[in-house]
Assembly symmetry: C2
């Protein structure tokens, strides 16, 4: 894969890595750090459509359809591996296994979106928050970032609210409800899940995202 790598970059918290509607000439892989994917409405309302975790691919949509329909913003310091967009086609031509891997990543991403849509559309406030916490716990656990039952979660409640279609206030109250019920505690940028089963009962989470992802 070295042939396709053109360098590395660092993004600071709050930095926009790719802007909405932009025609990006680059593709990235997140090496470390976390961020969000989001779309903005003319009204200013923001929908968080996903969270970028280490190992995630960024900008495939732009590379293949000429334009990103959502932006990417860093939430922590991020190290990024940079690829050249024009070489994506070369990869499909010369390395079919890799191309297959890329498509698989896209398919997994689509699954996450489906699950999110399910949560936002069908669950109530408490359920939505439970789903997101559970989903984070599992993804981060699969990445080996769990330690003593805790995983890092360097987001703001506003990010959760924007991801779940809830108001900030209600998100906060739902979090408090889960905390008081002894299910999970999220504070100081870290999440600790006390009762995984109760959480999963509130909001089912598809298993086996822990299947090894193709690395690029």
């Amino acid at each position: 894969m070295k042939r396709f790598k053109t360098g590395e970059t660092t993004a600071l918290p709050g930095a926009e890595i790719i802007s909405e509607g932009q025609e990006s000439r680059h593709l990235y892989t997140a090496l470390s750090g976390m961020g969000i994917r989001f779309k903005t409405l003319p009204s200013g309302a923001r929908q968080v459509v996903g969270f970028v975790l280490p190992g995630d691919f960024i900008g495939l949509q732009a590379s293949i359809t000429d334009e990103m329909r959502h932006g990417i913003e860093a939430r922590t310091i991020m190290r990024l591996c940079v690829f050249d967009r024009d070489r994506l086609w070369d990869l499909f031509r010369d390395y079919p296994e890799r191309a297959y891997g890329v498509t698989r990543l896209a398919a997994v991403e689509e699954r996450l979106l489906c699950e999110a849509l399910m949560a936002v559309g069908q669950l109530d406030g408490k359920g939505k928050v439970a789903w997101l916490l559970n989903r984070f716990y599992r993804r981060l656990f699969a990445l080996g970032m769990e330690r003593d039952g805790r995983v890092p979660l360097p987001y703001r409640q506003q990010d959760f609210a924007d991801a779940l279609g809830l108001s900030l206030v209600h998100t906060n109250k739902s979090l408090a409800s889960l905390r008081d019920a002894g299910l999970a505690v999220w504070a100081q940028g870290a999440l600790k899940v006390h009762d995984p089963q109760a959480l999963a009962a509130l909001a089912p989470v598809d298993e086996e995202f822990e299947r090894p992802r193709p690395l690029m």
Copy 2:
């Protein structure tokens, strides 16, 4: 592409083409007819995560990740082109342009999901319905199915409700509201949009999905 085609099938209204959680050995392309993609919660709640229109690809997720996380159900009579799942890899190896096309389809599908998430998460009831009507009108228009300002829309209000995370009752009232305002009328399985701009003002819809899709 004939090499990969293994036959054709017909699905009747209400028939499940692929079941949730199933490990499908086939891939399909919808030749004609329409259907829905959906996920079901243990509680029985159903989230419609997408609508299958002519030209759409079905089952890529299953082929590439071993399992479908959402089911497919026909809403009209559908003619389907059947492919063999095992040959997908052959396609990546021998026909990189085609493989690229498949990945592009997946990327476009992801865009639709993002937009849906945005609508379900951020818009109010009226806006959600306006978005879905507008989205249908544009997709069907791009497919050349518009005639005299009307497009076929053979779904039930319950499907809309399940797609938008609204109750059936509220979906109905929102539709009535749009109708009374003279924006769009959906009846008898056909949709007529009277005021596209007003509809778009309520719910922005990403342009240029009309870009030619790779056919399979």
